[in-house]
Amino acid sequence: MLSYNHQICEIRHNCFSLLTLNEMGPITMTKKYETEAPGYTMTTVMEEAARCLLCHDAPCSAACPAHTDPAKFIRSVRFRNVKGAAETIRENNALGAICARVCPTEKYCELACSRSGIDVPIDIGGIQRYVTDFEQADDMHILHKGDSNGMHIAIIGSGPAGLQAATTLLEKGYSVDIYEKNAKAGGYLTYGIPEYRLPSNIVDYEIKRITDMGANIHFNTIIGKDMTMDQLKAENDAVIVAIGASEAKMLPMFENNDAVETAVSFLARTKQAKGNIDLPDNALVIGGGDVAMDVVTTLKKLGVEHVTDAVYEQFDEFRASKKELAGAEREGVTIIDGYVPESVNGHTVTLKHRHINSEMTIEADTIILAIGQETNAKNLGIKLEHGEAPSAGYKTHDPKVFITGDIAQGDKTVVYAVQKGKEVAGEIDSILGGNRDDQ
């Protein structure tokens, strides 16, 4: 067995391998798409942890929707207890390594960070990534299935909310079956977020931890088509619907146009092909959220020379996280803010400014729409309004059926999905009783 200290050296070594990528000769464009930014080393993570003020009533921890408790894991790093830090993250967040990479921390923990009173907040996501990389390299097994309580739960959808709900339920002793319509688990984590931001192997590791605990995933299975909801209800003590919003929205003017693709489709096929796709010479992207930033940054990283992003919001009201916007700008994306598409004719889109008298016409090889997603809850017997439950919480009119994730009210980020996954599991456990001696 490699020793603890040795493991840390190994991680450090791997990170430096990434650092020197530039010196390894010409970089292929797919390499740029596939390569994650370098992470901390033991030395640099200690430097960052030493910047932390170790607040008494840490506002970062209070601001984390998933209760990942950054104050505690950063303190553990500061006191050179990386294993303890990993335990804190993992026990609070089954997708700790994923959140470390994709969480818009600037809106949560880092927004709350006291260090901002001095200069800039602690890089909490970066420290979390170091710790979860350590956890993986050291092959730590932190979570375990609880003693079986004989009860069964079915979860529809293996996105972040479904995965977290499964983990919490497994810990409490339930057996869990997850029904996934696709060939792979993870939902948007697997089919959406680009490789440079969230490497597939990280998602695979996180899912394997959960299947190792005992989650049973049924792939290529659509409830309402391959199996009925009634069947699931009959076979399980409760059913959780965690189907997310996986279908792309379309504007009527772009329908039936060969030049148009949705962001959902583009990101999915690019990720599955590891970046090996046919590329246009130029592209126009419509949308200004994180998904739009993923699309434009991916296009640039793959080598598309002219990428223009037309965004409904002006810069002062931008929806994408600052980090993702900065990434797009770094890649050289042209961003036109405050414009909405007025009309389209083949490859030519006419855009109009929302407030000032300005109109422009852009011709593009490819037009990609990143204007939001919607939910397909056909034959599941649940009521949704605008893709969301009509009331707060996780219950439905059917006492056996619960909802969670993006279709439950609240923010639509991975970290919120984790919170909602934990909460729906807790609610079901309080209703079903679980293991009596746990209470």
Partner: protein
């Protein structure tokens, strides 16, 4: 979260974990010690209790810190003396602590200027319910020269006072030693001869941490003047470890029970003190800087270390390093080991070149074009200063060669360190 038994027995007393507050400002009253117990400490050494008529009259301010680059508390200087609360209140606090925390260990630290005082204090703290006594023979900032480190560096006096304490109490007793002495062995032996059951060490190191360049006095400034007083914190750890090692290998002191003190703030520090022969550990400075909560990571980290090492009982680790620290003349001087540069990690800063030229043997040359160092083995003596200064840890142990005319198999030479950078 990992959960392992890290309990240990010391002088016949069971500690649920080895971590104790040392006798200092961090254990000054019932509320403080109770909070420390609530947050997970295994024992407390209550702030030293003196005789009723000894008046504690403190200065303000009374602390100073040594820094390096941006790191605070590299060392901490303290002018505070013993507990300032009335004797009666201190005894009442001890009693209440033991009543409310029966599974934790309450240790009374005492100090007096006469044999009679020592004996009386020992009797009083025993009546109050303390389970162990620590004799403070080592505080370097007392206003009375009849107490503190002046006593601890005088072995006949140490013996006499230990005997007095043993007359006053049959509790297990440790004598707390001062490091302000060349050799601790005579004082420790005198303590044992006087009836001490174990040793606690080190107390603080006499110091001046900083001098104010305008006021021309040391810090902290007390109405224009300052004094020599005790230094603690990370910087004294190496001094503490050397004293503990030298006690544990002194003839007649093998297996000496020790409560280790000196700059402990992480689980790694704790393990180092245990490997060097400490059974329990005492902490103050890191608590003053960060609070009692640091015990969480010390305990958790220690559990992971034991798990990784396959160690079932913490006591199995005590003193494991003692035999591997030998007199300088007994070290293997037949070989040298060259450093090796990992080019994937080297960022071309040239720090190794500068240090080798200016601080070692001019064995590294610098290519100004490629901005990379190279090592000339004909000049390199294998000191590895370059590895220590490298900011990205790109320099590792490399090839081992026997010195000219010496016998030996380089492949059998053990130089691997897994010390965390």
């Amino acid at each position: 979260m990992i959960n392992k038994d890290i309990s240990i027995d010391f002088l016949g007393v069971h500690f649920e974990n080895p971590f104790c507050l040392s006798s200092s400002p961090v254990g000054n009253c019932y509320e403080m010690c109770a909070k420390a117990f609530d947050e997970g400490w295994g024992g407390i050494v209550f702030k030293t209790i003196g005789p009723e008529d000894f008046e504690v009259d403190e200065v303000s301010p009374r602390f100073d810190e040594l820094t390096k680059e941006a790191t605070p508390f590299v060392a901490f200087k303290n002018m505070e003396q013993i507990a300032e609360h009335p004797l009666k209140q201190n005894l009442a606090d001890l009693k209440k602590l033991k009543e409310n925390y029966p599974d934790k260990v309450v240790i009374a630290s005492i100090m007096g200027p006469t044999e009679k005082d020592w004996e009386e204090l020992a009797r009083l703290v025993t009546e109050a319910g303390a389970e162990m006594i620590e004799m403070n023979l080592s505080c370097p900032q007392m206003t009375s020269h009849a107490m503190g480190s002046d006593v601890g560096s005088n072995p006949p006096l140490v013996k006499k006072y230990c005997e007095a304490v043993k007359r006053g109490s049959d509790l297990p007793m440790m004598a707390k030693m001062t490091p302000n002495i060349t050799d601790m062995v005579p004082a420790a032996k005198a303590a044992l001869a006087g009836g001490a059951d174990g040793i606690a060490t080190i107390n603080t190191v006499k110091s001046i941490a900083n001098v104010d360049l305008e006021r021309k006095t040391a810090l902290p400034i007390v109405n224009g003047k300052s004094s020599v007083s005790g230094l603690s914190g990370k910087a004294v750890k190496p001094i503490a470890l050397r004293f503990i090692q030298q006690l544990r290998v002194a003839s007649g002191l093998e297996q000496l029970p020790i409560s280790g003190i000196g700059g402990i703030e992480t689980w790694e520090d704790a393990v180092e003190f245990i490997l060097m022969g400490s059974t329990t550990l005492q902490v103050t400075t890191a608590v003053m800087q960060y609070g009692y909560r640091i015990v969480e990571d010390m305990k958790n980290g220690l559990m992971h270390y034991m798990e990784e090492q396959g160690v079932k009982h913490l006591s199995d680790l005590v003193g494991l390093a003692n035999k591997n620290i030998v007199p300088a003349e007994d070290l293997d001087r037949n070989y040298k080991m060259y450093p090796e540069i990992d080019w994937d990690k080297c960022i071309g800063c040239g720090r190794c070149f500068i240090s080798c030229y200016d601080g070692a043997h001019q064995a590294i040359s610098w290519d100004e074009k490629t901005r990379r160092p190279s090592i000339d083995t004909s000049k390199c003596v294998g000191c590895h200063l370059c590895a220590l200064v490298c900011p990205v840890h790109a320099i590792h142990p490399g090839k081992i060669v026997m010195k000219e005319g010496r016998e030996g198999d380089p492949s059998k030479i053990d130089v691997v360190s897994q010390r965390l950078y």
